[in-house]
């Protein structure tokens, strides 16, 4: 039954930018191209009209096929689903539920948990609106019966600096083969009953499936919210604000995974999202990291692998699936833009790509496929070769450095902010210029617009200071200088 869904698994066919054909009026009901019987309910990809039943099968099959093809999620492994309340991640959750309830032969065999990051503070929601969204989200999460974790974006301000370092394992040692893992899992299942002793490292203020109805959501203290808002206020452009939000969100999810013992994170970017992100990242100077940023597997964090199982679905398919099969979603408002600000590159690319797709329906799948053909080359041997913010391999060659620096280093070294936070940098040494060598080309551009160092999240400053100090020590121990070069900043 699955052939018509296509074995290439891509989110679209077609290679040449074919002009869109429009169906004549009153051609309904058209029969389904797959079963020939049901009346078509939607057109997927290029002109294939599917009935509801066949569409559902196609959709569900695609998810399993995606995981089956890539074989990176092992049976018995704890997998954290990152949910936003939006359509793609909500459809992803439904696929996991479907997959776990199927008859044994086809059943998904990993152990899911859920995480939701409340970003209401920076999305312009009032306290009441935040509590309302949170309560709705928590009801949804609880109904799944899976363990779930709620975190507020404010908690990013309390992240440890280690979140910016790749975890142990991962990239270095080869992981066990998929086959071995499956066999190990089956054996283990025979041996043990059900002894999940859930040892939790105290970390984020998250909850594991509480009993009873969700309690009234607790928002973080107002001072924390203000601190977070100050950080976002200081950011000079909507583009940098989007990047900052994504970074904080990613790090919070990663922290949840680490402290709760999840080794994989699933995120819900659709094919449409992936294509938009790909073009956005090209525009933001992240062309070298396309594979890590948009591929199925993102291994930059070492111990926790991020996978994107929804990247074969068009946003349209997801919206229809959610509508037909009553998948609940929670709408969150977009990041507000200040008056007279230009929209972010992210928004502009979305508009551009969807506009093009309207007339040339293979646009998105073509862009998506371009990203697909690229090798993940996120390997960097030591942490000093990784970007402080995005953890990708540093890609800066000498000339680019020269070209960028004049615009970046003009600032005076800043006075160090209030020393309230754990491992706050030693007084005096913090300067914007010192951050530059720690960043990749793209993050340098973002960093330039992030506002004063004083409002940056403490974990970013702490880790930067650690790396700067380390680099200085290395330099000192390395050489007995014959002539005096640049002395360290004083």
């Amino acid at each position: 039954m699955c052939e018509a869904a296509g074995d290439d698994g891509g989110c679209g066919a077609g290679t040449a930018p074919e002009r869109r054909r429009r169906a004549p009026a009153h051609s309904h009901p058209r029969p389904c191209v797959k079963c020939g019987q049901g009346s078509a309910a939607l057109i997927i990809r290029l002109g294939d009209a599917f009935c509801r039943v066949c569409f559902r099968e196609y959709f569900v099959h695609k998810f399993r096929a995606m995981l089956g093809k890539n074989r990176v999620i092992f049976p018995g492994e704890k997998v954290l689903l990152a949910l936003s309340g939006g359509p793609a991640s909500s459809a992803m959750l439904r696929q996991v539920q479907e997959g776990l309830s199927r008859e044994t032969a086809k059943r998904l065999r990993f152990i899911p948990g859920l995480v939701y990051i409340d970003e209401g503070a920076v999305r312009g929601q009032s306290a009441a609106q935040r509590e309302q969204s949170l309560a709705r989200m928590e009801t949804l999460l609880q109904a799944t019966g899976f363990p779930y974790h709620l975190a507020h974006l404010e908690q990013a301000l309390e992240l440890p600096a280690s979140i910016l370092r790749p975890g142990p394992g991962g990239s270095g040692k080869p992981s066990p083969s998929y086959k071995d893992a499956v066999e190990g899992f089956i054996q283990q299942q025979r041996q043990e009953g059900d002894g999940d002793g859930d040892t939790l490292v105290p970390g984020l203020g998250t909850r594991d499936t509480p009993v009873g109805p969700p309690a009234a959501p607790r928002l973080p203290p107002a001072t924390r919210t203000q601190e977070l808002l100050r950080l976002f206020e200081a950011v000079e452009t909507p583009t940098a604000r989007e990047e900052l939000l994504q970074m904080l969100r990613t790090h919070l999810i990663l922290q949840t995974a680490r402290t709760r013992g999840y080794t994989k994170v699933m995120t819900g970017e659709s094919c449409t999202r992936v294509a938009i992100k790909l073009l956005t990242n090209l525009a933001l100077g992240r062309g070298a990291f396309l594979a890590v940023d948009t591929g199925f597997v993102d291994n930059r964090h070492g111990d926790v692998m991020v996978v994107r199982p929804m990247r074969d679905y068009m946003a349209k398919e997801i919206a229809f699936y959610n509508h037909f099969f009553d998948v609940p979603t929670v709408i969150v408002p977009p990041l507000p833009t200040k008056r007279r600000e230009k929209p972010s590159v992210h928004r502009l690319m979305e508009r551009f790509l969807l506009g093009l797709q309207e007339d040339f329906p293979s646009t998105i799948s073509t862009v998506y496929r371009y990203g697909d053909g690229r090798e993940a080359e996120a390997k960097a041997s030591s942490e000093s070769q990784r970007c402080l913010l995005c953890l990708c391999a540093l890609d800066i060659a000498g000339e680019e450095e020269l070209a960028l620096e004049p615009t970046l280093i003009m600032e005076e070294p800043e006075p160090v902010g209030n020393g309230c936070c754990q491992d706050t940098p030693a007084a005096g040494v913090e300067s914007r210029a010192a951050f530059i060598p720690l960043l990749c080309y793209s993050c340098r551009l973002t960093f330039k617009e992030l506002g004063p160092l004083a409002t940056l999240p403490p974990y970013v400053r702490a880790e930067a200071q650690r790396r700067i100090r380390r680099a200085e020590l290395e330099l000192q121990s390395q050489e007995v200088l014959p002539e005096d070069e640049e002395p360290g900043k004083s």
Binding site: A23, A25, S27, H28, A40, L42, P87, P334, E350
Partner: protein
Amino acid sequence: MAAPVSLQVEFGGGAELLFDGVKKHQVTLPCQPEPWDIRNLLKWIKQNLLKERPELFMQGESVRPGILVLINDADWELMGELDYKLQDQDNVLFISTLHGG
């Protein structure tokens, strides 16, 4: 002369935020010489339901790319899109897929 047409017009996926957060609208289109189609309906929505920032919902005479249209729960691409002739009691649903998660 076409008779008045009663419709249920719905918004989802965040598109409802452009309509005071109201998802379901019961709508009666007045009599007019030629039959009502989606093209005319969109014009009517722009004048009667859409209070501000029409560019977030419409582009030219159609919906903005990224907004899906379902007529009686089926993809409007199967139904002739803007040219579909509305029948009494039809259900028209607009779902935004823009900046989704």
